[in-house]
């Protein structure tokens, strides 16, 4: 037994060695990075402003890495980042409190940005550059966050079986004529939660619940786990119309150019509220110790050149009102967007989720 103990100790020592060797290695590579960098930027480093910022983001690596690299190349400011789900990152920021290494929080959906603000992990930003280019409806009223890209959650229909003149508003998808012809994504996705939250902001809970119930009654099949599956189901003929984010349509269109589907912009009549849009956006963490560079990143992402790339990569619309969308995105046609401030989407999200639960929308 004594020997077993010795043996175990030996084994644990070995493992710890391996472990510490690994972390040493990564520490060293960080150091060497820092070394080469500090030679260029020694002056700045001394002015107690680190030349490195930390970003927590729920945007996936392949959608942000190119910009971070570009930003570093242009400004010399290194970016370290962690990707995870929104809720996890917000919990992490809360738990870390003032010890957090994070300077910037970046995520999709206004609901998540609202929650981060509500949980007190962001700080207000003062930036004329951002105020000048980002429309009011796409930013926090108290400037805790700014939208950087815009996506529309709109309708998609089968060009083979639907006459677009039959389509009009989100609400009208509950009409008799769409019985058994509607496909939806799960209500567990935040995009649908925001859509319904914004409907509550317009119509109130009672009417919104009636609308959602009428959608559920029209469903051709159980809700799908993502937007692409909704479109595939329409292509296959299971249903004729659905609600999706524009860039999912764009991706599918790129893969299958002869897709028998098209986008429709609802609620465009004069008294209509416009198409439901949402953003991906960013804010500066409350306990950032590198506020200046954090702001530099967000302003850089909102500048005209970055906006074109940033929105283009994921086939989204630029949030900067002076920048035109890319050609392929512009080809879907122009639309009027809902101008209600997006922070409503967060505020009313719990109510929206409850409402969808009650309406039996899974």
């Amino acid at each position: 037994m004594t020997m077993m103990k010795t043996w175990l100790t030996g084994l644990s020592a070995t493992a710890l060695l391996v472990l510490s060797a690994c972390s040493d290695e990564s520490a060293q590579s960080n150091e060497s990075k820092a070394d080469s960098q500090s030679q260029e930027t020694q002056v700045v480093a001394k002015s107690q402003d680190k030349k490195e910022i930390v970003v927590y983001t729920s945007r996936k690596e392949h959608l942000v890495k190119p910009f971070f690299e570009q930003f570093t190349a242009e400004t010399g400011i290194e970016i370290n980042y962690i990707t995870d789900s929104e809720a996890a990152l917000i919990s992490r920021l809360k738990a870390e409190g003032e010890r957090t290494p994070a300077d910037v929080f970046m995520t999709v959906d206004a609901g998540n940005l609202w929650l981060a603000t509500e949980e007190g992990v962001l700080q207000p930003i003062e930036s004329q550059a951002l105020e000048a280019v980002i429309p009011d409806s796409l930013q926090d009223p108290d400037n805790h966050w700014y939208g950087l890209t815009v996506r529309a959650r709109t309708m998609v229909y089968s060009t083979e079986r639907v006459n677009p003149e039959d389509l009009s508003t989100y609400e009208a998808l509950g009409d008799e004529q769409w019985n058994g012809r509607l496909c939806l994504r799960t209500s567990k996705k935040v995009y649908n939660q925001s859509l319904v939250a914004m409907m509550i902001a317009r119509y109130g809970e009672e009417k919104t619940q009636q609308i959602v119930e009428s959608w559920v009654a029209n469903l051709a099949t159980d809700p799908f786990s993502n937007d692409t599956k909704v479109m595939n189901a329409i292509t296959a003929g299971v249903c004729d119309v659905g609600i999706v984010n524009t860039y999912y349509f764009g991706r599918l269109q790129k893969e299958t150019p002869d897709l028998p589907l098209a986008l429709f912009w609802p609620d465009q009549s004069e008294e209509g509220y416009g198409v439901h849009v949402n953003v991906s956006g960013a804010g500066i963490t409350r306990h950032s110790d590198n506020k200046q560079n954090a702001l530099k990143l967000i302003e850089w992402l909102a500048n005209e050149q970055a906006q074109q790339m940033f929105a283009g990569l994921n086939m989204e619309y630029p949030a900067n009102q002076n920048v035109e969308p890319t050609e392929e995105v512009a080809a879907w046609g122009e639309f009027r967007a809902d101008r209600t401030n997006l922070s409503k989407a967060g505020e009313l999200q719990p109510a929206a989720v409850k409402l969808m639960d009650r309406a039996g929308y899974r």
Binding site: M1, T2, M3, M4, W7, L8, L11, S12, A15, V18, L19, C22, S23, S26, V54, K60, E61, H62, L63, N80, Y81, I82, T83, D84, S85, E86, A87, A88, S91, R92, A95, E96, G97, E98, R99, P101, L115, T186, K188, V190, Q193, D222, P223, S225, T228, K229, N232, A233, T235, A236, G237, V238, Y248, R251, Q349, P350, V353, K354, D357, R358
Partner: protein, 548 residues
């Protein structure tokens, strides 16, 4: 019993007596320390009860919970029955029968373990879904979409879990049968029992610890899963946890629901232990030289079709589908995939070694002294496996941050001491997979009967010799099984890795998550194939090593 031999020995070699005395005290201390660390992530969960939101509970109760409980009940029932039937019957087939291709199936039937449920889920769904390969195949023979099987229901989800998790039952059952099932079955047959009677009345009760342990792993993983059920949009109890957190922004309600899940698992474990009571089946004698009965006739053919069918559905077809997608999309992966692979492997190896050590300390403490306290400590140390991964990860993150905060306020140094870095991540792996490491080592240890050690001692073997020449060779199969199972599990692990990894420590699972959560399932196939490929090697090795 070991105590006696060791005491006798320490009397003989008085120079070692004091050391033994100290160690005897230390083993208990270590055990409690392990328990404390393993319960650390549960603390934030318990504290959540101070923040109760009755209105939200009311809502969940009215609209969600009854449906979720019924879904979860049926899922557990189907997966449990399916894994038991497939795992036990295949183990029986492999151990007791001879047929062409047996030596391939022997390890082939373990391979589905290398495919995480979420990968199997998106592969199966991608195959059977609208605009998928199956639809095109049906159309080419003139059949419409009405012929597509609907897999987005409890049967589809249960099929996924059964296919990817039955290997736990198969693995444990196979070695149990090799050790004791065969001998008792053959004796019973000689004594005139019918085949069925000998199997159900003797073999199944005798091997109960093995298949119960296997089923336990299967069901806990099913209960804790979120990835596969989300792909099917199938709501289980875990869904309520995530909905409370992501949808209602109520982390405390999510934690409370997780507590209930945990309580349920803990109670089930206790009920099982209590049900088993004190009855023990000890192995008598050594396994007979293997004789395997040849499979013949129509029945034999059907049985073989069944076995190959499970292998094909659980492994071959999903891998082919993944390969097809991987080839189609491989240009979309520019760089860094090999770096992800190396991270995955380093983490898996380190975590497996350390977890094994912790498990060995627990086994050793139990061997030294059996007591209710120790047994409970051991049981509760392993609860981490039954928590949904994200909940466990948040618990660990919060607990470590409390400690960091404590350090900061005590010493006035602000920093991330524990909560960020490899330490937190490895700790999470240990807490999550201790159950997987403990089981095989404990079962190997229980095979070493005190009389064997006594015999060695009476033949004059000292402690060192007894350790190297009795314990080590007899523990080896269990140790290998534990190491490789943890290795494979850590490779597949997602939520804790996602939340606790240091900058730049992305793994294959993280990449797969990023792609699938954007709906890019086909692009995710390449990292998925790599993950499966790396997982296969240890699985094959594992089976080879455990040959009798």
């Amino acid at each position: 019993m070991t105590d006696n031999t060791d005491q006798q020995h320490s009397q003989n070699a008085s120079s070692k007596g004091w050391r033994f005395g100290v160690l005897k005290k230390v083993d208990g201390f270590l055990l409690w320390a392990i328990l404390l660390i393993c319960l650390l992530p549960l603390l934030p969960l318990l504290f959540s009860w101070f923040d109760l939101e009755p209105e939200l509970w009311q809502h969940l109760w009215n609209t969600q919970i009854p449906q979720l409980l019924s879904n979860t009940f049926w899922l557990v029932l189907l997966v449990g029955t399916g894994s038991f039937l497939i795992g036990v019957s295949l183990a029986w087939l492999i151990v007791m029968h001879e047929f062409p291709g047996r030596s391939i199936l022997q390890w082939g039937l373990m391979l589905p373990l290398a495919i995480p449920p979420y990968i199997l889920a998106f592969t199966l769904l991608g195959f059977t879904d609208y605009e998928g390969p199956l639809q095109y195949a049906l159309e080419s023979v003139g059949l419409g979409i009405a012929w597509l099987p609907d897999t987005r229901n409890v049967f589809g989800v249960a099929l996924i879990f059964t296919l990817s998790l039955y290997p736990y039952v198969y693995l444990l059952m196979r070695s149990a049968l090799q050790r004791k099932g065969r001998t008792s079955y053959e004796s019973a047959r000689t004594l005139g029992y019918s085949r069925a009677k000998a199997f159900w009345r003797l073999v199944i009760p005798l091997t109960r610890p093995a298949w119960i342990a296997g089923l336990g792993l299967v069901l806990m993983e099913t209960l804790a899963d979120f990835g596969a059920v989300a792909i099917f949009n199938f709501d289980t109890f875990t869904t309520a946890i995530y909905k409370s957190w992501y949808g209602f922004f109520s982390a405390s309600t999510a934690a409370q629901l997780a507590c209930i899940l945990l309580l349920f698992v803990a109670l089930s474990v206790l009920v099982e232990k209590w049900g088993r009571g004190q009855s023990r089946y000890e192995q008598t004698g050594i396994a007979l030289k293997e004789y395997r009965q040849p499979l013949t006739g129509l029945w034999g053919v059907l049985v073989q079709i069944f076995a190959w069918g499970v292998f094909a559905l659980g492994f071959v077809l999903p891998v082919i589908q993944l390969l097809v997608w991987a080839i189609k999309t491989y240009e979309r992966h520019t760089d860094g995939t090999l770096v992800l692979l190396s991270h995955t492997m380093i983490l898996a190896i380190v975590a497996a070694l350390i977890t094994l050590m912790v498990a060995a300390i627990m086994v050793w403490a139990k061997r030294n002294k059996e007591s209710t306290g120790r047994n409970l400590a051991i049981e509760f140390s392993q609860l981490g496996y039954s928590l949904p991964g994200t909940v466990l990860a948040v618990g660990i993150m919060m607990a470590l941050n409390w400690i960091d905060g404590g350090i900061a306020s005590l010493f006035g140094v602000k920093g991330q001491w524990l909560a960020s870095g490899l330490f937190a991540l490895i700790l999470a792996y240990i807490i999550r997979f201790l159950r997987i490491g403990y089981g095989p080592v404990a079962s190997s240890m229980s095979q070493i009967k005190p009389s064997v050690v006594e015999a060695a001692a009476s033949l004059g073997a000292n402690q060192k010799e007894r350790f190297w020449r009795v314990y080590i060779p007899l523990l080896r199969p269990g140790v290998f099984t534990a190491l490789l199972l943890i290795f494979v599990e850590v490779m597949k692990e997602l939520p804790a890795t996602l939340m606790l990894r240091p900058f730049g420590w992305d793994t294959l699972a993280v990449r797969i998550y990023e792609l699938t959560s954007e709906g890019e399932w086909e692009v995710a196939a390449l990292p998925a194939v790599l993950l499966v490929a790396v997982g296969i090697l240890p699985v094959i090795y594992l089976i080879r090593k455990s040959e009798v």
